[in-house]
């Protein structure tokens, strides 16, 4: 059953230097405050897993917490590049960044395999692309019935998976709604899991389209109001688009970025 703890305590006790950590939230319910806590506690040499690395990934990379990124689309949604990600890949700053790059469908199926307790998943994809060449987590596989050649993608099972959700009850059952992306699979694939929530309530009144994650599937729950800001949490607050645009300027220059992080996160 999930323990309800503080965010600081959760990150401190569930994460270790060198761990593989997934921060999921497909363009919605992004676990920003959990990422900030990882930066504050100065974790190092993490492998960061995230389909859509965005501002929080840019910050973790720029602060030198990450030495490997597993991802499928790394941009500032609707704005442009992630400059800290680019600086790390293009110029090894602040440290070299190894990448294991996939398509959304591929990384999604790696999570599905991880959630299913299987060592791999099967899909039709990657064929003919350059992606096949640069990863060791995709391999050809033949259908034993038809002979068709497909692709196997290796399961991903992060040491810690972190997501953000709207609510939990006092037993640690979690409720999320709106775009729920790959979050259920991320939690299930994780060896340990942490869910930050906007609020903790006595009773989860069900909503259309909601996803319930029972307490017995989660390691820890931490309250973190506004935990997705400047992204959004449906039913609580909207995306701060101005900040996403401003981030392009803040992140473009190393010193401006460091100053901003010092003032606003550390």
């Amino acid at each position: 059953m999930a323990e309800i703890v503080s965010l600081k305590e959760a990150i401190g006790s569930l994460l270790n230097d060198g761990d593989t950590v997934a921060l999921e939230g497909f363009t919605h319910l992004i676990p920003m405050s959990a990422g900030h806590e990882i930066i504050k506690q100065r974790f190092q040499q993490l492998t960061l897993v995230r389909l859509t690395p965005d501002l929080i990934s840019d910050q973790l990379i720029g602060m030198g917490c990450v030495n490997k990124l597993v991802f499928s689309w790394g941009g500032n949604p609707g704005v442009g590049s992630l400059h800290r990600l680019r600086d790390a890949v293009e110029h090894d700053w602040p440290c070299p960044l190894e990448i294991d790059e996939h398509s959304h469908a591929g990384l999604t199926n790696r999570f599905v395999a991880g959630a299913s307790g299987l060592p791999f998943a099967v899909m039709r994809g990657y064929q003919g692309t350059g992606l096949d060449t640069y990863t060791s987590t995709v391999a050809p596989i033949s259908c034993p019935f038809t002979g068709e050649e497909l692709r196997a993608v290796a399961a991903i099972n992060p040491d810690l998976s972190v997501i953000h959700a709207q609510r939990a009850d006092r037993k640690g059952n979690v409720q999320l709604w709106g775009i729920t992306g790959i979050q259920k699979e991320a939690v299930l694939a994780g060896k340990r899991s942490l869910v930050t929530v906007e609020e903790i309530v006595d009773e989860l009144d069900r909503r259309p389209g909601d996803v319930i994650l029972p307490s017995w599937l989660i390691t820890a729950v931490a309250q973190s109001s506004g935990g997705s800001r400047p992204s959004y949490a449906s039913g609580f607050y909207q995306r701060d688009n101005d900040f996403y645009i401003a981030w392009d300027g803040i992140s473009r220059d190393r010193q401006t970025f460091m100053s901003w992080m010092n003032e606003n996160v550390l």
Binding site: E101, G128, T180, G181, I182
Partner: protein, 253 residues
């Protein structure tokens, strides 16, 4: 009803793309140019276009232009929202999508797309965002429509990286790769429309936007561009089309 108003080449591109879409087509939409064109089509002749975004929103009817594929506006106006595994495994992979609508940074003459890197993969001069949903959209949608601005830097003889397959190195490659969809049927740019030759699969300029010279298109293409024998001129935007595109307001604005 041609407009007497001026319009930009980007407006012409979006309008030309919107004209490709029809009611009840199931369209898997990339963000940026494709999203703008699809939303324009919905406001014009295709109000019942079925828009699918990779975030899981099915049948979204945004009143404002979404800023990302996971914009709250898409979620709030969708018929339903499914998980990302469902979008890729249950809806895209089996070929249920009529049109995959993609952008890219670069394209080659066989309509292969690059959105990964410029330069060497390990030491790129420009690291682009990467694949996202594009490789499997390009593979599995029944057909693919591509939009990008045309220049010698974006229309290149050889891609530094193939993110999504158009026709590989020519006829037969899609089958060889096991790609189930028919591949790209049209590339819409700010200068005109290119379509694959039915036999060679090489892109051919088949339409040119009015006020654009063939010479300009040739100079904006990094390979020796083939021109269709019957080169058509795109109908300029109508007043209705221009009004619609100019009234598209982004979410959050």
């Amino acid at each position: 009803m041609e407009s007497t108003e001026k319009y930009t080449s980007d407006e012409m591109m979006s309008i030309a793309a919107a004209r490709q879409l029809r009611n009840n087509q199931i369209c898997f939409i990339g963000i940026g140019l494709p999203s703008k064109a699809a939303n324009l089509a919905r406001r014009l002749h295709a109000p019942d276009l079925i828009m699918i975004y990779e975030s899981g929103t099915l049948g979204a009817k945004p009143t404002r232009l979404p800023l990302s594929i996971g914009d709250g506006e898409l979620a709030d106006t969708a018929d339903s929202i499914v998980s990302v595994p469902e979008i890729f495994n249950y809806l895209l992979q089996p070929g249920r999508i009529d049109i995959g609508f993609l952008g890219a940074a670069q394209i080659d003459k066989y309509a292969n797309l690059n959105s990964t890197v410029i330069g060497d993969y390990h030491k790129p001069s420009v690291r682009l965002p990467g694949a996202g949903g594009a490789p499997e959209i390009a593979g599995a949608a029944k057909r693919v429509i591509i939009m990008l601005r045309q220049s010698a830097k974006s229309f290149v003889d050889k891609l530094p990286f193939v993110t999504s397959v158009g026709f590989g190195s020519g006829p037969g490659d899609r089958r060889r790769f096991g790609l189930t969809g028919a591949g790209p049927t049209v590339v819409i740019t700010d200068l005109g429309l290119l379509e694959p030759d039915p036999d060679t699969k090489e892109l051919v300029l088949t339409n040119i936007h009015s006020n654009v010279s063939v010479q300009k298109v040739i100079e904006s293409t990094g390979w020796k561009l083939r021109i269709a024998e019957k080169l058509e001129v795109t109908e300029p935007p109508t007043a209705t089309e221009l009004e619609a595109i100019r009234s598209l307001v982004s979410a959050g604005e």
